[in-house]
Amino acid sequence: MKTTALVLLAALLVVPACRRREKIRVQATDEESASLASIVHTADPKTAPQLLKGFHAVEQNAWRWTMAKFAVALRPPKDAARKGAVLTLKFAVPDPVISRLKTVSLSAAVGGTPLSPETYTQAGEFTYTREVDARLLTGEAVNVEFTVDKAIPPGEVDQRELAVIVTSVGFEAK
């Protein structure tokens, strides 16, 4: 019995030892060069690095909650430096937000230049669109910052600060 146990123990340890790994088995990386997008779907992992700040984790493989201030880097569309573009934010104001905060006002700034705000008094899905002047759309990437005037603070319904739910944001060519 003792001999069997010892043989079993030795086998259990020696078999893995036969395939000793000095370091670690390398795993292929995705080297395909991702380029900057003009339209970012917030659930798309390929463009996640363009979500600069204020976005929470992806939920339902479809959308992300944001904080009161959130920002995204977007590539201006072709000819935008000449014709300008349309900024489009597709988002939802959920019931819990409206029932607590009554109204929310959303504003945006492109490269630091503010665009006019809009106020929402009902829960639902919305699209915030604003024309963007061509002179703001030079360069490879443009910083677009959004501000929601009110948000549910951390600890009330969640440990996170919650403002709106965003599905996509981007520039559309004119």
Binding site: K23, I24, Q27, A28, D30, A34, S35, N143
Partner: protein, 605 residues
């Protein structure tokens, strides 16, 4: 014989079925720190230090941590399977010992089957069953159970061997004399004098440990010897019963866990009271096991951890095991049903989660290894690291184990990862903003997004977005071993060596200024022990020409760290210059360089 083997195999089979993901788990958290011990061994002296020098909180666990990790790493490298097999084998031995002890005390074969089954099913074992650093609990349990089994059999010499070896597994081993004495007083009065000599090694170890352990003035390891001990005991009792831990995996109705915990507590209390009325003291001994082995951690009010229940839960398992056999059949069935009904799903789900989490870390390491192959001369930046990956997979510096240096997190990570200064500073792992922008512009950085099935190269995307949010400012943390920060060093510095860089007699460093008057300057470095034998080295530090108090590196301070109050005039400045001067240098034979001190990091925080 066959029947006995079959009874022993039942708990083993349950263990394997329940914790199979724990057998195939990868390394996590402290595992990397223990594995890294092997990397610092260049001489027999280094080996003995790695084996026996007191570590964090003065712990010396040569068998369960040092020898376990260093030995298996030496044999099997970063293959976690042999480590896990060894942990499981130790647990199988523990199951056999629990069965034998329970059977001997209760004189019941059924109790001897139920006790190990109930113990291995308890979800508080999740850490030890899925985390190699939890091996100290399994091995300490093995020595405690072995010593106690030998005591029961009257094998006193073997008892002493197991007891003394147990000190090399975990400090909790000091309570063994209390277990033996409690047993003798409650169930075998004539033998209580035999337990008295056992107290001497425990007292000696306690005194020795107190002399090694650093004085704790605050934080989670501060001992609270007050009424909070009872609150902590209550918390542990609820955890070990199990129902409350269902909240770890789901959101049960609010009444469910309290109701189930009350039911279990009331059922056990009534049964124990009935046994005591009949002068059956066995349940009291099992409760004593629980309390005695938990007692050393009860004063740690702010550091309650489920894995501290690994050994105490043996007492509860033996108690419920006896109840299962001797109590009213309806009562015992109900107790076991509630106990297992809550523990099994939590243990199974948590084991799976731990496995999944650990393989995220493995994928990251495997990806970084590939990235280094593809970009041998570039600094690797990781983007998208979340709290979980950072604290379980990066904090304990795993990249050195795969031979990859110069891996940092993107500057944004410092804001996205929740600070836990008691564990470590996120900034130690982050490449500052200014050097990131400079490195990207020079093509010396490659950026990877983590979190997916494999690492994704996002260098191009990051180059485009980083100027929108990063500032070309001087960093407030200068790691002199990082080549991207070399532009902040004066001309006299020598070339970097691993994470260090030597200065000659004098050197300068430029660093970002403090933001508030409370921020200080922290400096870490290294000086060879053999040079310190020749006398101390005095270090003069000045900032923008203003001298700071002189520091001295002396014997026993091979790895030194100093901190200084900064002049108020520096607050708000974009950067300032640190000038360093030592009063003694040396030139190693065959080297030719004049060496003053080797530095690691300068930081303002």
């Amino acid at each position: 014989m066959i029947r006995a083997a079959a009874l022993w195999l039942v708990p083993v089979a349950v263990c394997l079925a329940l914790y199979w993901p724990g057998l195939t788990v990868f390394f996590q958290q402290d595992d990397f720190a223990w594995l890294g011990l092997s990397l610092g061994i260049y001489s027999p002296r280094d080996f003995w230090r790695a084996m026996f020098a007191p570590m964090a909180q003065g712990t010396i666990r040569p068998w369960s941590e040092r020898a376990f990790f260093m030995g298996f790493y030496r044999l099997f490298g970063l293959d976690p399977l042999p480590f896990r097999i060894w942990v499981f084998l130790t647990q199988f031995a523990n199951l056999a010992l629990i069965a034998a002890i329970t059977r001997r005390i209760t004189v019941s074969r059924a109790a001897g089957v139920w006790a190990p089954l109930l113990w291995i099913s308890n979800s508080v074992l999740i850490s030890v069953m899925t985390w190699s650093s939890g091996y100290n609990q399994a091995l300490c349990a093995f020595f405690l159970l072995s010593a106690f089994y030998c005591f029961l059999r009257g094998w006193y010499g073997r008892q002493w061997i197991a007891f003394l070896l147990g000190f090399g597994a975990l400090e909790i081993n000091v309570v063994y004399p209390a277990i033996a004495t409690a047993y003798a007083l409650l169930l075998d009065r004539p033998r209580w004098k035999k337990t008295l000599p056992l107290w001497l090694p425990s007292i000696a170890f306690t005194l020795l440990h107190r002399s090694f352990a650093p004085k704790v003035a605050g934080g989670p390891y501060l001992m609270h010897l007050d009424l909070s001990i009872f609150t902590t005991l209550g918390k542990y009792w609820l955890w070990v019963l199990g129902p409350i831990r269902l909240e770890n995996i789901t959101t049960p109705p609010a009444w469910l866990a309290p109701a189930a915990s009350t039911l279990l507590t009331a059922g056990l209390t009534l049964w124990v009271a009935r046994c005591v009325r009949r002068r059956d003291w066995k349940p009291l001994f099992f409760l004593a096991w629980f309390l005695i082995t938990l007692a050393p951690v009860l004063p740690l009010r702010d550091h309650a951890s489920d894995y501290y229940l690994t050994i105490p839960s043996i007492g509860l398992a033996m108690l419920v095991g006896q109840a299962a056999w001797t109590a009213n059949r309806i009562v015992s069935s109900l107790l076991i049903l509630v106990y297992l009904g809550f523990s099994l799903p939590v243990a199974r789900t948590a084991a799976r989660w731990s496995n999944i989490r650990s393989h995220r870390i493995e994928r990251m390491l495997a990806g970084v290894a590939r990235a280094r192959q593809l970009h041998p001369d570039k600094l690797i930046l990781l983007h998208g690291v979340n709290d979980e990956l950072f604290y379980t997979g990066i904090l304990d510096k795993p990249f050195r184990l795969i031979g990859v240096a110069d891996v940092y997190l993107t500057p944004e990570s410092a804001e996205r990862i929740t600070p836990k200064p008691e564990l470590g500073f996120v900034t130690d792992y982050v490449l500052p903003q200014g050097p990131t922008l400079a490195g990207l512009a020079q093509g010396r950085i490659v950026v990877y997004e983590v979190g997916g099935e494999r690492l994704k190269n996002i260098t191009r995307l990051y180059e485009a977005t980083s100027p929108l949010q990063l500032k070309a400012e001087e960093p407030r943390r200068v790691d002199v071993g990082n080549p991207l920060l070399a532009y902040l060093l004066g001309k006299s510095w020598h070339a970097r060596e691993a994470a260090y860089r030597w200065m000659p007699g004098r050197a300068t460093v430029r660093i970002g200024g403090p933001r508030t008057a409370r921020e200080r300057l922290y400096i870490t470095g290294y000086y060879p022990a053999e040079q310190l034998e020749k006398g101390p080295v005095h270090v003069r530090v000045s900032v923008d020409g203003q001298p700071l108090p002189e520091s001295t590196v002396q014997r026993g301070m091979e790895r030194f760290d100093f901190d200084y109050v900064l002049p108020a005039a520096l607050v708000g400045k974009a950067s300032f210059e640190i000038a360093l001067e030592v009063d003694r240098t040396f030139t190693p034979p065959g080297d030719g360089r004049e060496l003053g001190l080797a530095f690691g990091v300068f930081e303002v925080r």
